[in-house]
């Protein structure tokens, strides 16, 4: 038999996995177009289910595949035309990877119902905290520099809809972290339901 290098380079880059990862990234891109705004939160925080394919991919092909799907999804978004100059995509990738990675690592260690449950909890809390830290130290200051106005403006827009917000720290604690917690729970519920239905099909494909 002819040695096939694409099969020997580790599971993620075997032809069948590459095709699946590409396809899942495509689904992620399509789901990004189906977002819905969240009441009580500023409009630049939007929820979509585009992380579900990454979670499904991570369950079936391992943590690296999940992160790869997140990366591809955002690269695709930049290539077909981004309207935040890549900053929004970078943020989406980091928070998405921060969600998929812990979930997949816990599931890899304990591939059962308990693993899924605790993995989802770790991922939701972990990604929300990670998103808060990233926004506090990097993204909101970066947006402020690019747009040339003080950070308080973001805080004021957030304060219009949420009275608990008074400064950048309270904005992170009362808007960004809860938003990501809600998003994490929604992604977990959707992914787990899809995963439960699809699981019997894994062996076929």
């Amino acid at each position: 038999m002819i040695r096939n290098p694409s099969q020997s380079k580790g599971a993620m880059f075997a032809t069948s996995s590459m095709v699946k990862i590409g396809m899942l990234a495509g689904i992620g891109m399509v789901l990004m177009l189906l977002d819905f705004p969240l009441p009580l939160f500023p409009s630049f925080l939007q929820i979509d289910l585009s992380d579900v394919p990454a979670v499904i991919g991570a369950f079936s092909m391992g943590p690296a595949a999940g992160v790869m799907i997140e990366l591809l999804k955002n690269l695709l978004k930049i290539i077909v035309g981004s309207n935040t100059g890549g900053v929004g995509e970078l943020a989406n990738f980091l928070v998405g990877a921060g969600y998929v990675l812990p979930l997949a690592l816990v599931y890899q260690r304990w591939p059962n119902r308990q693993g899924v449950l605790w993995g989802s909890i770790t991922a939701t809390v972990g990604a929300a905290v990670f998103a808060g830290v990233l926004n506090y130290f990097i993204f909101i200051p970066a947006y402020a520099v690019v747009l040339g106005f003080p950070v308080e403006v973001f805080v004021d827009t957030a304060a219009l809809v949420n009275s608990a917000v008074v400064d950048l720290r309270t904005m992170v604690i009362f808007a960004i972290v809860p938003f990501n917690l809600i998003k994490g729970v929604i992604i977990a519920v959707a992914s787990l339901t899809v995963h439960r239905v699809l699981r019997p099909l894994w062996d076929k494909f």
Binding site: M18, M23, L34, L72, L76, V80, G148, V194, V197
Partner: protein, 264 residues
């Protein structure tokens, strides 16, 4: 909830000088533009950058309204940026409307920030308007090739991206079809609270995933049957060629960036 826009991608095919440039040239040129826009500080610099972008738009033979249309999603943030800088910068007062004071410094700063934002988006959208996603992927692959040595999977990344790009239109069409089929059976994608709406999407997601996996399986078998075995030694039907116009274009862009970035 419904699709914001069903057409994905902004690429407009054409045969102008800009369209014919190698994607690598255009990626490098766009990077230079971003660097330039963040290093210039003054109206002459922005004016020169604007002239350069206008020249590129003219040379691309694209109707101006396509470029302007790309700026539309930016409108709110643009108005916000300009007006905030206009009213909140302290300095020599020019005009007083009720409690708002326009200062000279504020006016200059607001106009400059607005100009930077517009030029940034107009300039980068020229890349995606004149280059097809497939060409861009090809360009990224060859640009990443030197990084293979440190373990960057350039070919694999490009291959997965190409597969995704090929199937996005198919997946979009399928999503619409499944949505309509489920709505005909009484599914509701529009109402309910957040959790309810996310749950309502399950009857959409499951068939979408099943079909995608089936397609992926077919494609993987077809690829292996045709002897696909990774990037090593793989030949291409359309090779990227770095021609004389690319050399000329890159020289002009570098010279322009250095001169304008340094002096203005």
């Amino acid at each position: 909830m419904r699709f914001k826009n069903l057409t994905i991608g902004q690429h407009i095919p054409g045969d102008s000088v800009i369209h014919r440039l190698d994607p690598r040239t255009k990626i490098l040129g766009t990077t230079m533009l971003i660097v330039l826009l963040f290093s210039v500080n003054g109206f002459i610099g922005y004016g020169l950058a604007a002239l350069a972008i206008a020249a590129v738009i003219q040379a691309s033979e694209l109707p101006w309204r396509y470029v302007l249309r790309g700026l539309r999603p930016l409108m709110v943030i643009l108005i916000l940026t300009v007006s905030l800088n206009l009213f909140m910068t302290e300095g020599e007062p020019l005009l007083r409307i009720w409690f708002l004071t326009v200062t000279k410094e504020g006016l200059l700063r607001g106009l400059m920030m607005g100009a930077r934002l517009v030029l940034l988006i107009a300039g980068t959208s020229m890349l995606t308007l004149t280059t097809s996603p497939i060409q861009l992927t090809d360009g990224i692959e060859t640009l990443l090739n030197p990084a293979r040595k440190i373990g960057v999977p350039a070919h694999e990344l490009a291959m997965m991206m190409t597969i995704a790009l090929r199937f996005i239109p198919t997946l979009l069409e399928e999503t619409e079809k499944i949505m309509k089929a489920q709505m005909a059976r009484g599914a509701d994608f529009q109402s309910g609270n957040l959790m309810q709406r996310a749950k309502n999407l399950i009857p959409l997601l499951v068939p979408l995933f099943v079909n995608a996996f089936r397609r992926a399986d077919d494609l993987a078998i077809a690829m292996e049957a045709r002897g696909y075995r990774g990037g090593e030694g793989r030949t291409k039907f359309r090779e990227l060629r770095f021609g004389r116009i690319d050399a000329a274009a890159i020289t002009i862009v570098i010279a322009f960036t250095v001169v304008v970035g340094f002096f203005f």
